[in-house]
Every structure is written in C-alpha cells, then in structure tokens.
C-alpha cells in the first residue's frame, strides 16, 4: 500500500486528490506463480483506488518478443505512463527506451533494465538484500557451529534476481564462516519445489539450516520435508506468502522465518506512474520530483513479528 504517501506535509498534500485522468499501461511476466499473481492483482487494486487512473493491462507473458509487442501497443495508444515488470530486464530495455523517447515515462519494476535511459523510475525489491537477510538470520541461529550444514533451494537459476539472492546469501554466510553445502534450483512452482527438495533431502542426510528462495515453491518444499519426516533443521523462506506466515505463526513446521520480498512493487509502480504522469512529487520527501530509484526493504519475519506483517502477505 502507498497510504503513507498520502499525508505529506509539504507541497505534495494534493497527491490523493483527483487530478487529470491518466492512462497507465501495465505489463508483466506470465502470472504462473503466486507472487507474480499477487503483483498483478495488487497493481490492479491500486489503480482502482484512484478515480483518475485508467489501467490498461496487457496480460503476462514469458516471451520477450510478445512483451515488446505489448509495449509497442501502449506506445501506439499514446498512454501517459507505462509500468513494466519485464520478463527479462535486458530484453525489454530497447523498447522501454523507445517509449521514453516517445515521451511516455516508464516505471521499471523488480527486474532492472540494462540502461538508465530506459526508465524514469526504477522500483526494485532488494534481491541481494534478501539473501543477506536470510544468511544473517541463519548465522545468528548457527553462529557457534562452524561445521553446520546449510542448504539452499533457489528459484529459476537463469534469472538475475536468483543469482543476486544466492550471492547475498553466500556473502552473509561467509561473514560467519559458513558456506552453502548443498544447492538445488527449482522453478518457482510447487511441483518444482517438491521435486528439488526431495532430491536435496536425500542428497543431504543431515542439515542444520535451509533457505528456500520462494514461499510459493515452499509449499512443495514443506510437503517434501514432511514426507521425508525430517525435522532436524530449520528453514527460512522468501517472498512472504500468507501460507508461510501462517506456518511461522503456528510454529508446527520447520519453517521458522521468511524474508519479505514485497508483492506490492507493481502497485508502487502504478502509484508512482500516476504521480509522474500528473507531474506530482512523492509525499514526505522534499524533492520536487519523484526519485529515479526506489529499493524496497527486505525484512525477516519470525514468530515474534509475524502479526505485524500478516496483513501485507500475499495469497499464493
């Protein structure tokens, strides 16, 4: 939610007021995954909050060629702003530049373009930070045991965000003298999580801690852990789904914590697109203009603070 931006004390007090109607285009990857589904619905819900926003949704795809075509449709429609969660940041850079050159501000969400000229604003989850948070949490729990076995179940390996997460994770573990002993990659699906986890568990008969990058595939991971009857370790999740937080709260599974990766980035993108298109600025900031880069925080949710975060959790 962007409610906090609504009560800015400065020249931005008018942010919630209905301004001139703006048409905003939204395009993201195929919502074949809980987190991406949540991104999508949060963006649409955000747009519905405003009377002056008309959201044009091009439904998700994993084909860069098609997504480029969708953005071209937006350009051709002369929309006022485009919020883009690219299926591949580099692959969509060119067309984003084309949109910018056509005078349409582009808000880049989650997966970064390869050129700074391609976006007016970039909203990023902190993938590296996520890995660091997860690693740090595990260090805190295992810090006194240098021989601890740490396992990792990554998401789709070919995405830069997965690589960032893994890098952050191993950097943080390195700080306390640990390393990842077993790593498998899944594909952000329940089925993939289950398959990867059951293979991992048989490869590693004794584990002390496990980080699973994604709560959606975590459903499968937990199912696999359960059928293997393993409970000698604790697990940290990622993204922050409602299922995961419920499990943390109930405390009856190995899942002890999860690292939030906000599913409201798209909604932030829509809100920012509106401000940019209407020439408004960001409340609470002194700046006249919306900043070019916003990196979201990746907090760790545990049983202690889960109630605080449950309302923002997404249903996978």
């Amino acid at each position: 939610g962007t409610d906090s931006t609504s009560s800015g004390p400065t020249n931005n007090a008018n942010n919630t007021e209905t301004g001139e109607t703006v048409r905003i285009g939204w395009s993201g990857p195929a919502a074949d995954h809980g987190w991406l589904g949540a991104i999508n619905s949060a963006a649409i819900a955000e747009a519905e909050k405003y009377d002056d926003v008309e959201l044009v949704v091009a439904e998700g795809t994993n084909d860069a060629n098609l997504q480029i075509s969708q953005v071209e449709t937006f350009i051709n429609d002369e929309l006022d702003a485009i919020v883009l969660l690219p299926t591949d940041g580099a692959a969509l850079t060119e067309v984003a530049i084309k949109a910018m050159e056509a005078g349409i501000p582009v808000i880049n969400v989650d997966r970064e373009f390869s050129s700074t000229f391609a976006a007016r604003v970039t909203v990023l989850g902190d993938n590296y930070g996520m890995g660091v948070s997860a690693g740090t949490y595990i260090c805190e729990q295992l810090g006194d045991n240098p021989d601890a076995v740490v396992a990792e179940i990554a998401g789709i390996d070919s995405l830069p965000l997965t690589q960032d997460r893994s890098r952050g994770f191993s950097d943080a573990l390195g700080d306390c003298g640990l390393e990842v002993s077993n790593r498998v990659a899944a594909d952000f699906t329940v089925q993939g999580g289950e398959a990867a986890a059951s293979q991992l568990l048989s490869a590693a008969p004794q584990i002390d801690a496990l980080w699973n990058h994604d709560d959606d595939q975590g459903v499968g991971v937990l199912a696999a852990i359960d059928s293997a009857g393993r409970d000698e370790f604790f697990m940290v999740g990622g993204a922050g789904s409602k299922n995961a937080m419920d499990a943390i709260k109930s405390g009856d599974s190995v899942l002890e914590a999860t690292v939030i990766y906000p599913s409201t980035q798209g909604a932030d993108g829509v809100a920012l697109a509106r401000l940019v298109a209407q020439g408004k600025s960001l409340g609470d900031l002194v700046e006249q203009d919306v900043p070019t880069r916003i990196v979201l925080y990746a907090p760790v949710v545990t049983a202690d603070n889960v109630d605080e975060y449950l309302p923002t959790a997404f249903t996978s």
């Binding site: 077993n182 990659a185 329940v190 089925q191 490869a203 499968g220 696999a224």
Partner: protein
C-alpha cells in the same frame, strides 16, 4: 489368349517342397535377445550402469534403501502418466495434453468447494473429481481424434493449451492448498512401510502390463497401432476403442493429479508442465514404437526409472540442471538408437 492359367495341383505334389525355407527359427537365445526380453535387457543394463555411477560418485548417500525409495517416489507420478501414454502410443497416437490435464485436474479437485464437499462426505470425492476431470478431457481428445479425424498431435496440442488456460481461470492463478485431512492422511501415509504413492505406481504398472499384454483390450490397441485400416476392416470398432484409449490416458493424468496433490499438498495450474515430454521420452526410450504397433509396459517403467535415477545421481553430485539437460538429450538419442539396433528384426528393409 488361348492359354488358360486355371490350374489344379496334381496329387503327386511333394507338400514340403512348396514351403519357403524356414527362415527365422534361429536358436532360442537369439530369439530371446531379439524379442522383448532382449530389448528390456538393454534398459536394465543402462539402469545398472547408472546405479554403478551413482554408487561410485555418491557412495552411501546414493546406495541406501531410503534413497532408492526416494527415486521411486519421485518416479511414481510421471510413471503413472507414462503407463497411460504407453497405450496411446502403442495405438499409433500421442497425447501432448497429459501434463496440462493433470494440472487442470489438480486445480479442480482442490477447489475450496470441492474440499468442503469432501469434508462433508469423504476424501474419495476429491479423487473422484480428479479422475472425472482427467477422463472428461480424454473423452474430448478421443472424440475429436476418432470422430473429428484431427491428427492426435494437433488435437492434444489444442487440449494442452486449452486445459492450461482453463486451470488458470478456475484457480485464479493461485496455488490452492489442500487442507482436507482425510486426503492428506491417506496420501502422505504408507502401507507396509512404503508410501502409497509408490503402491499406486506399482499397481498401475501391474494393471497396465496385464491390460496391454493379456486382454482383448490390449490386443485391439496393438492391432490398431499396427494397421488401423486392417483392424477396422476386421470388424473391430476402432473409433470407440480410440476414444477409450484417450479416456484411459486422461484418467491416468487424473490419478497423477491426485498423487501430485498428495505429494505437494497443493493444486495449481503449473502442475505437470512439460510432463508430456518426459512421459513420451520414457515411453519411447522404453521401447514402445512411436509409430504404433508395439508397446511394452515393462520398458516404460524402466525408462521412467532411468530418467529419475539420472536426476537423483545428478543432484547427489551437486551437478547443475544444465549439464543434466545436455546429458539427458544425449541419453534419449543413444537409447533410441540402441533400441533400434536391438529391435531390428530380420525382414525389415534397410
């Protein structure tokens, strides 16, 4: 044309003379190796080699009962689908929609109102719903193929695309958690220390083996794959049989959906993605002819086990998916090549 051919054989004819030389007798061993046993022997050797590689590279972590059970559990879902697929491929067809139908069945069976209804009655309701969805999808495939005469590849490609879309619509693209206790208890339980998942696979394999090799249904299936027109002209209701076959593979996708629901405790439209390719690869590597007319359930089971053991060996050795893909590609080609060498019969033209 004064000369007339009409003839009768004079009784003096030496009866044996007319017979062409006995060609394909060979010795018993040769016949065995040339036949089904020989083909499966190749697969058994391949599997044994893989196990040796696993034992050498991963040692005790690989060579223990729990790990083998793990491999079989992992194999069981794709295994059930592959058994159904063996039937359609033996009949000269193909079903590209199995994975997608499995996803759809998992979604429908885990819809909240279905689970609620199951709470009121029995978890078997969820099973019934999944099988019904699979069977219905198979029925549509079968009718379009048999009566609409659309080539199986295209008919089931359309179902692949369509069922996935339908599953997304019904699930609203969300992962649906299974909370029905009876269902979870059963499918996460075991029998004689072996998971139900594995039992289902074993039972499906035995039934499939029996059905294909020992029943009139199997005989018709092989005949249709061997020569559709001749089978039709022999008075067999080939269209009806084709429909039955696609329903069968649909139901096997439904069973796989139930197994997946039990294993992952969640139903989603992404379940089963690309399973069709894995199943086809296992079936053909197992020795079933893609053009139809010959099918083997034992081969299919071995094919499935080879691929799942491969995955396990790779994971045990912390090797990346990418290397695994390359190796898998090579294995498919080599296996099919070997199959053909083993299977090449005298009488086949070069």
């Amino acid at each position: 044309m004064s000369e007339q051919t009409p003839t009768t054989v004079s009784e003096s004819a030496a009866p044996t003379q007319a017979a062409p030389p006995e060609k394909k007798s060979g010795n018993a061993m040769q016949r065995l190796l040339g036949g089904a046993a020989g083909r499966n022997l190749g697969l058994v050797i391949a599997l044994a080699l893989l196990i040796v590689v696993g034992a050498i590279t991963a040692g005790d972590r690989f060579m223990n009962v729990e790990n083998f059970l793990n491999i079989i559990r992992f194999a069981s879902i794709i295994g059930v689908i592959s058994i159904g697929m063996t039937f359609v491929i033996t009949a000269g067809g193909i079903d590209l929609s199995v994975g997608s139908v499995m996803g759809l069945a998992s979604v429908v069976a885990s819809l909240s109102w279905v689970q609620a209804a199951a709470d009121q009655t029995s978890w078997l309701l969820m099973v019934a719903v999944a099988l019904a969805v699979g069977g219905a999808a198979g029925l549509v495939n079968g009718i379009v193929i048999a009566y609409g005469k659309v080539v199986p590849f295209m008919a089931t490609l359309a179902m692949l695309v369509g069922a996935r879309g339908l599953a997304e619509l019904l699930s609203n693209k969300q992962t649906q958690i299974v909370s029905q206790q009876g269902f979870l208890e059963f499918f996460r339980g075991d029998f004689l220390g072996i998971a139900w998942l594995v039992w289902i696979f074993v039972i499906a394999a035995v039934i499939g083996w029996f059905l294909l090799g020992r029943t009139t249904f199997g005989r018709r299936t092989v005949a249709i794959g061997g020569n559709f027109e001749a089978t039709r002209l022999a008075g067999i209701r080939v269209k009806r049989h084709l429909v039955a076959l696609y329903v069968l593979v649909g139901v096997s996708a439904g069973i796989a959906a139930v197994m997946m629901l039990g294993r992952t405790t969640a139903g989603t439209s992404t379940h089963g993605t690309l399973y069709e390719l894995d199943a086809i690869a296992a079936v053909v590597v197992g020795g079933t002819l893609l053009v139809g007319g010959r099918g083997t359930i034992v081969g299919t089971v071995l094919g499935v086990l080879i691929f799942s053991t491969l995955t396990n060996v790779f994971t045990q050795n912390n090797l990346s998916n990418s290397v695994q893909s390359v190796v898998k590609g090579v294995i498919i080609v080599v296996a099919v090549l070997l199959q053909q060498r083993f299977a090449s019969r005298p009488g086949r033209s070069s």
